[in-house]
Symmetry: C2
Subunit: 380 residues, 2 copies
DNA sequence: ACCTTTAGGCAAGACTCCTTACTAGACTGC
DNA sequence: GCAGTCTAGTAAGGAGTCTTGCCTAAAGGT
């Protein structure tokens, strides 16, 4: 039911958007190249470039074409059109970078955190990183996209604590921390959701519009991609599988997180999974380790039965410090083979996937902001 | 990333779309009324109406305005612009109707089926109903929207049989059955999904963009609405909760459908739930019935824990022959109160919800078809 | 030295939408 | 019964956009 009111202003806006978008994809182009790439006629492109140059969204780079024919001028997006902040926050540290609308990274800042650093340290590191990147880049930081290793409230962007969840980063309010440095919106989401986006765009499930990404690490998380988009649900808590009923070591129904308590795989007194111990179990070959592996496969099989029922994925991607272990995947596959419904598994493989996914969103969003700059009042 | 190529043809198409859409919402309007309602100027509207009249998409109804001022002519969508077939197929019978782009129903056909009628009877009833409605309506049947009480393959529109599911209607291929009568696409989906759409638009969850609709009847089904749209997943099998792990009567993990076997609530030898017997249990007040109710609440609580983990609904709607029973809802609420995460419940109340939901989709789709008629080559 | 190629500019034309002004007809009030 | 008022629709003119086609300038190839 899309039907914007027709007007000549709309046409002009559309032309400018086409020009801006092609400049976001190609970093420097002559007017003639823009015309052929967009399919718009040369005179129209010329007018548009003139408008956008006057609006300081596009600049003549000073470079000139070489080769046969008349020399042409290369145009590009104005460097001061702004950049976006991309940040990833985990209990181990903060990684932040600035990206422009072309998708180029303009500097990266890493800050290590102690495991028991607490939330103030995380907030401070995030703020400091943003300030440094803001000072270093040509334009303002127009928006921020933040990845956090905890559940995120969809309405406020704040990190939330769920019962029996490890709360690795702790209470943090990224929009508040970044309000002074970033001029526009601050988008926050769970690291697993961003990782899923990265796998969708650059990883092992390209072109698969419906899949589930199960992250198994200290915390237990999951992302659901439906119709090509990461689904967040009402509160942003899609993928919080800790309290999902599944099968425990002796076949009794229990919450997924309780399975690790029952198997002695928690890092007491917290509710976090003891990853080193779990990896030992996956490597060991004694009978007890085999029993634990079976129990894990059974429990994860239960989680996957829920994924099948509520997300109907084409594939399930397993990631996280122990989620992509081949022996675990083999055990789960064996379990699935005996189940009434099955689903193919694959292992996640991208490095820093949450940063990749967040970066993609940042570029997309920055592009939309710049397009809106050109025609602030036009809406469609 | 929407950026259609600007052109004058696009503008004209947009004008025509605005005019058509407002005529779909108001059934008869003068040119002046169209102008004020769309915000487009009178001369432009006049041109558009002339074009659309020539294209036989709009007609002068012959009616004239009364009251002060010059008499105006009322225009309306052409009756032969076509209608859409809406059909619901359950083991008890077929209900079919024709709707026009205004959303008006143009006749309903009901065919009762015996419980053991088989799939040929269903196919025949559907085909016959379509033929009768086709003959009765002014224009052609341009598309069909079918609701079926079984899982539907998203790619083909065929009904599919899942292990341990009752397969109430049986193997049926609505696109094939309707290919001769319906000139355009045939959209098929599960009755629960259509019912969820009806509740979203006219029922108890209006404005709630994320909810889950749990249908409890002979079969066990579920619909997931995320960001305002019914989610279907890769194969269209979102909501098939029969094999979801949950808690059985004695606390052991088992598939949801097995719970009914364990409780003796199946209509042997099928896997369908014995609804009358279950309703008896909900009405009875002896200790055994109380135990069964607790077990049901526990099992459904497990299903809801999966819904929370994978859909994060704002509300859960309970529907179906026994799903909206107050005593069941009370038992589930009591169970949820003791759970780490909870969610509000509400009871479905619409009559024939699957037909309402399917009708809404049919009207929407028919509108898009008619708009495309006006400008077949323009795309956005 | 001449031809070819290419970026960019210019002019003309077609088209769309809008504003303003006008006409035709019918009701209202005296 | 008549003048005034109100409204649907039309006509004319203007502003703006896109496209086609042609031209010029400058560089490379032959």
């Amino acid at each position: 039911m899309t039907a914007p009111k027709p007007s000549l202003e709309l046409l002009r806006a559309l032309t400018d958007e086409n020009v801006l978008r092609v400049l976001m994809a190609h970093d420097r182009l002559t007017r003639a190249e823009i015309a052929t790439r967009t399919g718009i006629s040369k005179p129209t492109v010329s007018e548009s470039v003139q408008r956008l140059e006057q609006a300081r969204l596009v600049v003549d780079t000073g470079e000139r074409t070489t080769g046969r024919g008349r020399v042409g001028s290369y145009y590009a997006l104005a460097p001061h059109a702004g950049t976006a902040l991309v940040a990833s926050i985990t209990p181990h540290g903060v990684v932040a970078e600035a990206v422009d609308a072309r998708g180029r990274t303009h500097g990266q800042v890493r800050t290590a955190l102690h495991a028991d650093a607490g939330q103030e340290a995380a907030a401070e590191a995030l703020g400091a990183a943003a300030a440094r990147l803001d000072g270093r880049s040509a334009g303002p930081l127009r928006l921020a996209v933040v990845s956090a290793a905890d559940p995120v409230d969809r309405a406020t962007g704040r990190l939330v604590h769920l019962p029996d969840a490890p709360f690795l980063v702790g209470a943090l309010d990224p929009p508040a921390v970044l309000a002074d440095t970033v001029t526009g919106p601050v988008l926050v989401d769970n690291d697993v959701n961003w990782a899923a986006r990265a796998e969708y765009e650059h990883g092992c499930v390209q072109g698969v519009d419906d899949f589930v990404y199960l992250h198994l690490g200290e915390g237990l998380g999951c992302a659901v991609v439906g119709d090509g988009v990461v689904r967040r649900g009402h509160g942003g808590l899609v993928g919080e599988v800790a309290h999902l009923y599944t099968a425990g070591p002796d076949g009794q129904a229990m919450a997924f997180t309780e399975v690790f308590a029952a198997l002695g795989l928690r890092r007491n007194p917290s509710t976090a999974v003891d990853v080193p111990k779990l990896l030992d179990v996956l490597e060991a070959s004694d009978a007890r380790a085999e029993r634990v592996r079976l129990a894990l496969a059974h429990a994860i099989g239960g989680v996957l039965s829920a994924a099948l029922a509520f997300a109907d994925p084409r594939t399930v991607v397993l990631g996280g410090p122990w989620g992509s272990h081949p022996r675990l995947i083999a055990a789960i596959e064996e379990h699935l083979a005996r189940s009434p419904r099955s689903v193919p598994l694959s292992a996640a493989a991208l490095p820093l996937p949450e940063l990749t996914g967040a970066r993609a969103r940042a570029v997309e969003e920055l592009g939309s902001l710049i397009v809106r700059d050109a025609h602030p009042t036009t809406q469609w």
